[in-house]
């Protein structure tokens, strides 16, 4: 975990902080979602408790905590209670592998602004987030209700179907960057947009060197697949009041329900963060490189530590700005697009997105092969 006990402690605190950040973001996102949907649908939304209804979050938390803890008689208790605990794990583990800023250098210590640097970043994230299917199946089976079971089967079939399109769209990205490591991807996306083909170099002064300009199709497929992975509208077929009630969490209430929510929002955050890393330059700022920012910081102060802190903070802010933007798109889409039907969902995953992602892979390989 580190070279001495100080570094180990800091790294552990960092991991806990990342988790707490995710947990804290959930009520804020719920508030944004409710206010945002109200804005889109021309309603008021929560506006009674506190300024702009912000204290609604606190009221909700208290309400969740004081709800009666309830399990149906027929439920299989160990699975029923383990499922919400497990819901926290995959998304958090994957999110902790996301680099959120340039490393912080204090004296001889170098702290990465990410939980841990798995050198096969993407493969690790895909592997860990594929464990989310167990949570769904455990909850569905443990509840002993037919609605839960049907919802769980639907949700897990949907999650694994879209994992194919997700995994295949990433192949194009890996071909482009030639690495699994997320930090190296971000570094490769700095500077102005530059195409190198047949010995010529075409460079643009206005556009940053972001992945989206090389892989637009992969970006669309990836983004759509993350919606399905996080079980959100327009792909929230795991729920449906008219058919299977609330899907695999029909029997859950109170705090256990909230833990499923944390998992769902965690997947949403993971999708946004990966979208930024792959296609929108990660923590990079358009038109400016890390060296530029460091130079600018050196003009303000002399201390090396302060320069590093400023650089890290500026890039962290840049990451957060993009992050919030994508989270808002997640919410926006939810209240704009209608739902799919289940057969349409499967058709879209298997017969549309999978072939398109395959085509994108072949095309990318062909272009890389031809121009070099």
């Amino acid at each position: 975990m580190g070279h001495d006990s100080f570094e180990i402690t800091i790294n552990c605190i960092k991991l806990v902080l990342i988790f707490l950040m995710m947990v804290q973001a959930v009520p804020i996102l719920v508030w944004v979602e409710r206010r945002g949907s109200a804005f889109i649908q021309n309603r008021f939304g929560p506006n009674r408790v506190g300024p702009l209804g912000l204290l609604q979050l606190l009221a909700d938390a208290v309400k969740f905590l004081t709800k009666e803890d309830f399990a149906p008689d027929r439920a299989i208790r160990p699975l029923f209670y383990a499922a919400p605990v497990f819901a926290l794990i995959p998304a958090t583990l994957a999110f902790a592998a996301i680099p959120m800023s340039v490393p912080l250098e204090i004296g001889e210590y170098v702290f990465k602004i990410q939980g841990y640097d798995m050198n096969v970043g993407i493969v690790f994230i895909l592997g860990v987030s594929s464990l989310a299917a167990y949570t769904i199946l455990m909850a569905g089976w443990g509840s002993a209700s037919k609605f839960s079971l049907l919802g769980a089967l639907r949700a897990s079939a949907q999650v694994i179907s879209y994992e194919l399109a997700l995994g295949l769209s990433i192949v194009g990205v890996i071909l482009l960057f030639g690495t699994f490591n997320l930090t190296e991807m971000v570094i490769a996306q700095q500077g102005p947009l530059t195409f190198r083909a047949f010995g010529h170099t075409i460079s643009s002064q206005f556009l940053p060197n972001w992945g989206i300009f090389y892989q637009p199709l992969a970006a669309v497929i990836f983004f759509a697949a993350t919606f399905a992975e996080s079980n959100r509208l327009p792909f929230d077929l795991a729920e449906g009041e008219a058919e299977i009630v609330a899907g695999f969490h029909t029997e859950y209430g109170g705090f256990k329900m909230l833990m499923f929510f944390i998992g769902e929002y965690g997947h949403m955050m993971l999708g946004s963060a990966l979208m930024i890393i792959f296609f929108f330059g990660g923590y990079g700022i358009p038109g400016v490189t890390v060296a530029d920012v460091r130079q600018w910081a050196a003009g303000i102060t002399d201390s090396a530590t302060q320069i590093s802190v400023i650089t890290t903070l500026v890039h962290f802010l840049s990451f957060m700005l993009k992050f919030v933007l994508f989270l808002w798109i997640f919410i926006w889409v939810r209240w704009t697009l209608p739902r799919f039907r289940y057969d349409q969902l499967m058709d879209l995953g298997w017969k549309t997105m999978l072939p398109w992602a395959l085509g994108n892979t072949i095309l990318t390989a062909l272009v890389i092969y031809l121009i070099s």
């Binding site: 975990m1 991991l15 149906p72 605990v85 089967l153």
Partner: protein
């Protein structure tokens, strides 16, 4: 050497254990703080249903499509995983002059993949009704 392999994995295990303890703690906290059961009728303790006696999951008919989807997912997932090492080394192969060979071998693999996919689509194994 110890650092190289131990560092990320230690973090992962620490976080997993932390989350498991934290989640369990939350469950127990909610149990301790949460309201007490006042209504203890059989209907309340039953699973959710709209006014009729609850139906156990054992009487539920489930389409085998779900399981077919899972099988096909495994097989296609592995084929996709095989593309990852190819994608990461493709540029190296091109610069070392073996690009044509590796490109062609992956295209053969992809042709088999596409054949399989279209066979599944044609055989209506992916049809949901």
């Amino acid at each position: 050497m110890a650092e190289a392999s131990g560092m990320p994995l230690g973090g992962v295990i620490f976080l997993t254990v932390f989350l498991a303890i934290f989640g369990t703690f939350l469950i127990f906290l909610a149990r301790a703080i949460g309201g007490r059961r006042t209504n203890n009728s059989a209907a309340k303790r039953d699973i959710y249903e709209c006014g009729i006696p609850g139906q156990d999951k054992r009487e539920t008919k489930v389409s085998v499509k779900f399981y077919l989807t899972a099988i096909l997912f495994i097989l296609f997932d592995i084929e996709i995983i095989f593309m990852y090492p190819w994608a990461i080394t493709f540029r190296d192969f091109i610069s070392s002059g073996q690009g044509t060979f590796v490109f062609a071998s992956m295209m053969i693999f992809l042709a088999i993949f596409i054949f399989g996919l279209f066979w599944e689509i044609k055989s209506k194994a992916l049809e949901w009704d």
